[in-house]
């Protein structure tokens, strides 16, 4: 897991630099999913960065499109886009817009409005079933996003149609846009709800690479898989962790230096 740990650190560092330079929001949401992305791209998914439309590739969809810097950083580390390109994030006319964009190499689907990605992934997974193909579809979602009714429609359809080639990862960092999840629209008992909807549910620490690997590689006989990943918003930067304001704020020069130094030390 050394490889994925290094990848997660690169994702966090790149994401911080991008958000700092562009004075953009959502760094907390991006840091939250860095480990999930590192294990997915570092160990689990099949893809070829020089052939982004490879038919047998696994499909990845970021439904919480506001965390796009983490995915752009991952795609750069994997070779879909150049690391230099990351510096254009947020510039006028840049492909790297502030919500994930399908105009970027390696990105399947643009999101930004919540509650679209899982249903789109259901369509991808259904396509693989119709064609009897083996590739899998992975969708990373936010916890606040589970407020959207469309996601529950999608879960019903996925379970009814036995889409065991679909895995959704819920980034359960317990904070949404204005307040905690429990103070907004409580999701609990989330695992019970998802299980009752007909999904195979794995509840894990979303920063533990071994557990992520185990969850992301397990496939049910006929149920869609949901990983309820307990995470920390802002993970890896002490002063950003579990703070609602880092859904919006961007670090100044001093805060960036401090954040980067924390990441160097903690992963050294």
């Amino acid at each position: 897991m050394i490889k994925t740990q290094a990848l997660a650190r690169e994702i966090r560092i790149s994401a911080l630099k991008m958000v700092h330079r562009a004075k953009a929001s959502h760094i907390g949401s991006a840091l939250s999913i860095a480990d999930i992305l590192a294990v997915l791209y570092g160990e689990v998914m099949n893809f070829n960065p020089t052939d982004q439309y490879l038919g047998s590739r696994d499909r990845f969809i970021l439904s919480k499109g506001h965390a796009c810097v983490a995915v752009y950083a991952t795609l750069a580390a994997m070779g879909f886009i150049s690391r230099d390109e990351l510096a254009t994030y947020g510039d006028d006319f840049s492909w790297l817009m502030n919500h994930i964009s399908h105009k970027v190499n390696g990105v399947e689907f643009s999101t930004g409005s919540l509650g679209h990605g899982l249903s789109f992934g259901v369509g991808k997974a259904l396509s693989a079933k119709i064609h009897n193909e083996k590739w899998r579809t992975f969708v990373v979602m936010s916890d606040g996003e589970m407020d959207e009714g469309s996601n529950w429609e999608a879960l019903m359809f996925a379970a009814h149609n036995k889409l065991n080639n679909l895995t959704a990862i819920i980034d359960y960092n317990k904070l949404q846009s204005l307040d905690s999840v429990s103070h907004t629209l409580g999701l609990e008992p989330l695992v019970d709800k998802l299980t009752a909807f007909g999904c195979s549910v794995h509840e894990i620490d979303g920063h533990d690479h071994h557990l992520l690997l185990e969850g992301l590689t397990s496939v049910s006989v006929e149920k869609p898989t949901i990983i309820v990943a307990h995470t920390t918003k802002g993970k890896g930067v002490s002063f950003m962790e579990n703070r609602v304001e880092w859904h919006y704020k961007n670090p100044d020069d001093e805060q960036l230096a401090l954040a980067l130094s924390e990441l160097e030390v903690s992963h050294a």
Partner: protein
């Protein structure tokens, strides 16, 4: 119209394995032949239009041409953002099919009156609107869409509409389809959707209107606006007729299309439904008449 639709879909699906039909738990007595013939390419998404539309986009992104079928406003307004973001923005071949266009479900109440759907769909840059006026135009629209898969909206009536055309016409987006020609540089009606038959009947039964030509527009879109001024140029007066509100409708679309040729603006006369029909219940013919689609209002 809906029977012509499903017949054309089945014919196409025989040779085109990419055609998929998804319904939102509607289509009783219409979709069964497709479902029986192509069980692996037919899905009932349940009463869940938002998921249906996004998953249709997901399927389309893998090479399928997906037909999504429901009635009235359910496959449009209920999932408007899914059409906007997932289908139109990604430019994916999903054809949204709504049965009960205009006031076809007049007695079912306002929830089932599709009189604002053009307004919603025509502001999406990649969407092509198919609004056929008779079963022949339905077949023509289907053949065009199947040969040119793209984000699209097909607005159908119900069943039992008379054929105005005696054969399947050749159609193209934004191109006026001749129904009858009374001579150039005169006056013409330009209809879309179910008003094809209303105006056809009007012209057949009123000899004093014999100097009017009649054209139909079964395919139109934001992109095909640029072809309108040239076609308007040949007429002194163009009377548009639609079973939709004026706001955001077909006649308004035509007016916008000549903003580059403002001298044509006064040639266009819009006949659309009065908003007083919103909330009325009754037969389609009754409500269309109440809304202004009657001789007294349509004769200029």
């Amino acid at each position: 119209m809906r029977n012509a639709f499903i017949e054309e879909l089945i014919i196409a699906a025989e040779s085109n394995e990419n055609i998929v039909l998804i319904v939102a738990d509607l289509g009783y007595g219409v979709i069964e032949p497709f479902a029986r013939r192509f069980p692996k390419r037919f899905f009932n998404a349940g009463v869940a239009e938002q998921n249906m539309m996004s998953l249709a986009a997901g399927l389309a992104s893998e090479g399928f041409h997906v037909f999504v079928y429901s009635i009235a406003n359910f496959p449009t307004f209920r999932c408007a953002e899914q059409i906007r973001n997932d289908v139109d923005y990604h430019n994916l071949p999903v054809t949204v099919v709504a049965v009960g266009g205009g006031l076809a479900y007049g007695s079912l109440g306002y929830s089932h009156h599709a009189v604002q759907d053009y307004a919603l769909i025509r502001v999406m840059p990649n969407m092509l609107i198919g609004s056929p006026g008779d079963p022949m135009e339905v077949r023509a629209c289907m053949r065009y869409l199947i040969n040119n898969p793209q984000p699209s909206y097909l607005r159908l009536g119900k069943a039992g509409e008379p054929c105005v055309h005696n054969k399947i016409p050749e159609i193209f987006p934004g191109k006026w389809l001749k129904v009858r020609e009374a001579g150039r540089f005169g006056k013409t009606y330009l209809t879309t959707g179910a008003t094809l038959d209303i105006v056809n009947q009007l012209l057949i039964t009123n000899s004093d209107l014999e100097h009017y030509s009649h054209y139909s527009m079964p395919l139109w879109s934001m992109k095909s606006k640029e072809h309108q001024a040239k076609q308007i140029e040949a007429f002194d007066k163009v009377v548009t007729v639609e079973d939709h509100l004026m706001d955001g409708g077909f006649g308004s679309w035509l007016l916008e299309s000549v903003s580059i040729r403002p001298e044509f603006l006064i040639r266009i006369n819009i006949k659309a439904l009065d908003s007083k029909v919103c909330g009325m219940v009754g037969k389609q013919s009754t409500l269309n008449a109440e809304g202004g689609l009657v001789r007294a209002n349509l004769c200029i």
